[in-house]
């Protein structure tokens, strides 16, 4: 079953022609009408006339997350405010968030992408889909919501939290599919078990669309075998719209619709293209975005492009499951955390020094982040109540900046490791 067979199964050479035409007009448009892109291209000494085939994309300069921050809130938008129908916001590294905007056309192509993806895993009319991603500034909830409605499924917009109620609704409403983070899926399984609910016998849930955080084949095996649910990987970031691409029923690589995206993989250090099958940093060019076009955007996720034919018949290139990051970003319970954010936060807290170590563990299905900090001698007290208060204050200050709960461990001054050169401040003990 295809949602849009003409484009999903388009012959490869035709797809490439289509991609080239889209790229050429995108570059011309941006060069002509947008100061940011024109300046960026001029600085790279490249003109739209230099793009004469698809391979010429490598001549174009990269874009970075920092560009979005530098141009916060809307300086990079290429549509007028009136044309923008929605904003989404993701947390920033130094208190400054990243804003993305969508025209109606942008919402439509994002929804189309998810309609193809959900169809490719057999979700459509007749299904009841529980969307247990966060609704709101985060793209996950609303993205999947629109996609599932488009394919004709009945949507239960459950959002996150209140797991017991979610499970009751799942049973009462005969939910057949769910979209959430893989760790929330595991957590739901644990809560169901405690409530005496057998997901296989007591519910109709058979498919899960899981993403927004890295996970592994091991976790898939656990979910499929122990919970009895087929688990499909989904991928996307707010800069390209949100979650957009999933595996098909083959569960072997995520289909990246070629009419919407051009994907490349590069060596993160040199910026040179790496061959399909080789691991590199994913670079995405969004061909259809109106409000905020992205050209050669460096997402910093590591993967490999799969350009072999998928038995499902779809001709789009695929990418492997994301295996890591080319920067030091951590994903804790679906929230992006950069060590630089922690550092920035600590500088605002006089009770502790600026040295730190981050430990990440997974307890059950939930990520736990501990930050070790050095206590400033002036704030030490012999009274336990003062010390507890101090620890609580540091924790709540961290939470305010990072948006996630953090365990704080107070250490002696000078006891944390100092680094010359590249600091290794993160110990990630999660086994995915």
């Amino acid at each position: 079953m295809y949602w849009n067979p003409r484009i999903e199964c388009i012959p490869r050479d035709e797809l490439k022609k289509l991609q080239y035409r889209s790229l050429k007009s995108l570059v011309y448009n941006l060069y002509s009408f947008n100061a940011f892109y024109r300046d960026r291209m001029k600085a790279a000494n490249v003109h739209p006339d230099d793009v004469n085939n698809l391979e010429d994309i490598v001549k174009l300069p990269f874009m970075y997350k920092q560009d979005l921050r530098d141009n916060y809130p809307t300086k990079m938008f290429t549509s007028s405010r009136e044309e923008v129908v929605r904003y989404h916001v993701s947390s920033g590294t130094t208190g400054k968030p990243t804003l993305v905007g969508y025209t109606q056309g942008d919402i439509d192509f994002w929804t189309e992408s998810l309609a193809r993806a959900l169809t490719s895993i057999g979700i459509g009319t007749g299904d009841v889909m529980q969307v247990s991603y966060g609704y709101g500034l985060f793209t996950g909830g609303l993205g999947l919501h629109y996609g599932a409605e488009r394919v004709g499924a009945t949507v239960l917009p459950a959002s996150v939290g209140n797991t017991e109620r979610q499970l009751e609704l799942m049973m009462d409403l005969d939910v057949t599919a769910i979209a959430c983070t893989p760790s929330y899926m595991v957590h739901m399984g644990e809560v169901a078990h405690k409530m005496g609910i057998d997901l296989v016998k007591d519910t109709k849930l058979r498919k899960a669309v899981l993403g927004a955080e890295p996970w592994s084949e091991g976790m898939r095996t656990h979910i499929e075998r122990d919970l009895g649910i087929k688990a499909y990987d989904i991928y996307g970031t707010s800069e390209i719209s949100g979650p957009m691409f999933t595996e098909c029923e083959e569960q072997n690589g995520l289909h990246i619709w070629g009419d919407m995206m051009i994907i490349e993989t590069i060596d993160p250090d040199t910026g040179e293209t790496v061959a399909p099958g080789e691991r590199g940093e994913l670079v995405m060019t969004v061909l259809k975005k109106e409000a905020m076009p992205m050209i050669r955007y460096r997402i910093k996720d590591l993967t490999a492009i799969m350009d072999d034919d998928c038995p499902c018949g779809r001709t789009s290139p695929r990418i492997q499951r994301i295996t890591g990051r080319s920067d030091d970003m951590l994903i804790i319970r679906g929230i992006n955390v950069f060590p630089s954010q922690v550092e920035h936060t600590l500088m605002q807290i006089p009770e502790v020094g600026e040295q730190f170590m981050i430990m990440v563990d997974r307890q059950g299905a939930l990520d736990n982040m501990t930050v070790q900090v050095e206590l400033s001698p002036d704030y030490f007290s012999d009274k336990m109540s003062d010390m507890m208060q101090l620890k609580k204050k540091v924790s709540s200050d961290m939470k305010k900046y990072l948006n996630i709960a953090v365990n704080v461990e107070l250490m002696d001054p000078g006891s944390l490791p100092r680094f010359e050169g590249k600091a290794k401040r993160v110990i990630d003990r999660r086994s995915l």
Partner: protein, 142 residues
């Protein structure tokens, strides 16, 4: 109010690394610091060692030099009678005067059992105790 009734206590921060207390004890030993009485308060992830030592000013400086967080705090020392109700007498006086004991600990002492305790406002507490006939010890006496 005589200063000599305020006993200097060292408070030392201990984080929760295994062996941290041993490391601190080693420093005290190397610096020749004799601990007369001590108590450890612990919470999730850290602890506070409170100790009565000989020559606290000198000991405090030595410990600080070794990169350990230490602070001098004043506490009150009183002898505890070796009879039932010894603690009650003292606690009653403080309770009636609405003076809150933050924490306290006892040791067997050379001549008698001694109770060390910390209050927020030390001078009025000493006055109240004395006014009610409670002996308050000086540093030399305990």
């Amino acid at each position: 109010m005589p200063q000599r009734h305020m006993i200097k206590q060292l408070s030392i921060f201990i984080n929760n690394e295994p062996g941290r207390l041993a490391a601190i004890a080693k420093v005290l030993s190397e610096e020749g610091i004799n601990i007369k009485a001590f108590n450890i308060a612990e919470s999730s992830g850290f602890g506070v060692l409170r100790a009565i030592v000989e020559d606290p000013d000198h000991a405090c400086a030595k410990i600080k030099d070794r990169g350990i967080i230490v602070k001098e705090t004043e506490v009150i020392a009183i002898p505890l009678e070796d009879t039932p109700g010894g603690l009650f007498k003292v606690a009653k006086v403080l309770g009636e005067a609405k003076i809150n004991i933050e924490y306290g600990y006892a040791y067997s002492g050379k001549k008698m059992a001694v109770f060390f305790f910390r209050v927020d406002d030390i001078q009025p507490a000493i006055r109240v105790l004395k006014d009610n006939g409670v002996t308050v010890l000086t540093g030399d006496e305990c």
